[in-house]
């Protein structure tokens, strides 16, 4: 009764509608304000989440770029760099282990000075010396004669002369490794291209260094006449759309290369056997296949089959593999000394049981040879790493899967196929360098400073 009386009293007062309206206004305003704040908060949280994730991607981009640079032997830090909608900076510290680096990358959105979001990653990587990415590398002048097929990249520190009907293509489908680079700094020319030169896959480069203080002259191969002397004659390139020519290149592609890619001192030190004329008969499995030819000063392998047994042999004199030999196991032959016509001579019909290939690494790292360090004659099938410290000649019908490196002048004669392969027999001690693989040891996010 009392409550009903009070309500009646209130509602009968003048101006009560205004008060009620104001009361409603305040209530609704509060609800609206709360709603707006809620929507703003949700939007901000969502936007911040996206920005924060973007900052993480930017930090990751910094790590990925540094990993690519480590593969080029660049161990310096990366200063603040604009990337996408933000910036990153990467610090590099050697350690904690040998060949390991600790990378710390911070990503900022939109910038370091006015960041709205930032994330930081710490990644420890190990640089692994690895198989080089080129099929052929020359420390000196190289002549590639007619009818040669190279499956993989060619690198040189000197002139490259390419004969007629030469083809360069990728080592396996999709790999796109069919380019030619030289660090040679003269234009006489640095790369001479013979008639009917085929570049069989798109996206390839032919680059020469010449004068790196000038702007690189990048262009498609010329048709009609070639006015530039460094890479000449570009009109001989058949598939012109597959190639970009760069003269006066200043990229790392034309940095001088290190030949050999293998640490030969370590390899010699790790040899299972040091073979000398006085001890070779005591080496397991060596005789009667091998004999010492005191007239020519070479060890001679004269057997239809021989298994190197996965061992490293350090020969102190030259070696000759006579005709018709099939290798039934893999091995590494190093010639570290001697004096004869050839360091390593492979005559005819040398092959193996691995899809017809002999899995051999052949290296001439020392000695004094009247003709060539390495001479490969006819019908030879080898999968492995081949290195001659100075001159080498490869004759006709030779098929090599792996890597061929020559320290000085070399001639690749007719009907040769050289195909790059990562599958090199045995575990060779590759030098640290541009092609080392990267192994991720740890990858974690840390609090930014």
């Amino acid at each position: 009764m009392l409550r009903f009386h009070l309500i009646k009293q209130i509602t009968e007062k003048k101006g009560i509608t205004f008060i009620m309206a104001m009361f409603l206004f305040i209530i609704l305003s509060l609800i609206t304000f709360g709603l707006v704040q809620l929507v703003r908060y949700e939007s901000r949280q969502s936007a911040y989440g996206n920005l924060s994730e973007k900052a993480l991607y930017i930090a990751e981009a910094g790590i990925e770029r540094k990993i690519a640079e480590l593969k080029e032997d660049n161990t310096s830090s990366i200063s603040l760099t604009k990337y996408g909608e933000g910036e990153f900076e990467v610090s590099v510290v050697a350690g904690p282990g040998s060949d390991e680096y600790t990378l710390e990358s911070t990503g900022y959105v939109p910038s370091k000075s006015k960041w709205k979001a930032r994330r930081k990653l710490r990644v420890v990587v190990r640089v692994l010396p690895s198989v080089p990415s080129h099929a052929l590398a020359f420390g000196g002048d190289a002549v590639i004669e007619s009818n040669v097929t190279i499956r993989g990249t060619i690198r040189s520190n000197r002139k490259i002369v390419i004969g007629s009907n030469v083809t360069i293509t990728e080592s396996e489908p999709g790999k796109g490794d069919a380019s030619i680079y030289t660090s040679y700094d003269k234009d006489d020319p640095a790369i001479s291209i013979g008639t009917n030169f085929h570049v069989a896959v798109p996206g390839q480069y032919i680059k020469s260094r010449r004068n790196s203080s000038l702007s690189p002259n990048q262009h498609p191969p010329y048709s009609g006449s070639d006015p530039t002397p460094q890479i000449y004659d570009e009109t001989n390139i058949v598939e012109k759309t597959n190639v970009t020519i760069v003269e006066n290149d200043n990229s790392s592609d034309t940095d001088p290369i290190q030949v050999p890619s293998v640490d030969t001192a370590t390899l010699v030190a790790n040899a299972d056997y040091t073979v000398t004329p006085s001890n070779y008969t005591s080496i397991p499995g060596f005789t009667p296949a091998w004999s010492w030819d005191s007239k020519d000063n070479v060890f001679e392998l004269n057997a239809s089959n021989w298994d190197p047994g996965g061992k490293i042999y350090n020969f102190t004199e030259g070696i000759k593999i006579v005709s018709n030999v099939t290798f039934t196991g893999e091995g590494t032959f190093i010639v570290s000394d001697g004096e004869a016509d050839y360091g390593i001579e492979l005559r005819q019909n040398v092959d193996g049981v691995y899809d017809g290939y002999a899995r051999l690494n052949l290296l001439v790292v020392g000695g004094d040879w009247d003709e060539y360090d390495i001479w490969m004659r006819q019908n030879i099938y080898i999968q492995g790493y081949i290195f001659g410290k100075s001159t080498s000649t490869v004759e006709s019908n030779v098929n090599i899967k792996g890597i061929v490196e020559i320290g000085d002048e070399s001639t690749i004669n007719s009907n040769i196929t050289i195909e790059h392969s990562d599958d090199i027999p045995m575990d060779l001690p590759w030098q640290q360098g541009s092609t080392g693989g990267i192994e991720i040891i740890s990858w974690q996010e840390i609090k930014p400073d």
Binding site: E12, K14, G15, I16, T17, F18, M20, A21, M22, L24, F25, L28, S29, I31, T32, L35, V36, V39, E42, S43, S46, A47, G49, N50, E53, K54, Y57, I58, E60, A61, E64, R65, I67, A68, K71, E72, Y83, G84, E85, S133, G174, K175, G176, D177, S179, G203, Y205, S252, D253, G437, I438, E439, I440
Partner: protein, 125 residues
């Protein structure tokens, strides 16, 4: 005595004004929330693709550089009547070593073209 006509009219006017503002705020809040949802959806769709692309091998044909062309990856998604289209662009920064991967999701919302782009480098390990 009681509520006068003036008070009634004034009350209705104030209430109408309050309701109008309230409805407008609600409407724009809903649009804002919806826009934010679309943006998040596009962003998540783009990052999903970026993660997938980063997981591929460096030489995978999907990562063939075609810069500056944005290639349509064939993926489309219709959400609440809005068509989202996803595009990909790959460029090689250092030959054989470093690629830049960008994923863009485009859509049209209230007659305005919108997009989100996410990107990252991929090194050849």
């Amino acid at each position: 005595m009681g509520i006068s006509y003036i008070e009634l009219l004034l009350g209705i006017a104030i209430l109408s004004f309050i309701l109008l503002v309230f409805v407008q705020v609600l409407f724009y809040s809903m649009l804002s929330v919806k826009g934010s949802q679309f943006r998040s959806l596009a962003y998540n769709w783009a990052t999903d693709r970026l993660e997938y692309l980063k997981s591929l091998s460096y030489d995978d044909p999907v990562l063939t550089p075609l810069y500056p062309v944005w290639s349509d990856d064939g993926e489309k998604e219709l959400v609440e009547g809005i068509l989202f289209k996803r595009k990909l662009r790959v460029s090689e920064i250092t030959q054989g070593l470093l690629k830049n991967i960008e994923v863009k999701v485009e859509w049209t919302e209230r007659k305005e073209d919108r997009n989100v782009t996410v990107s990252s480098y991929k090194a050849n390990y």
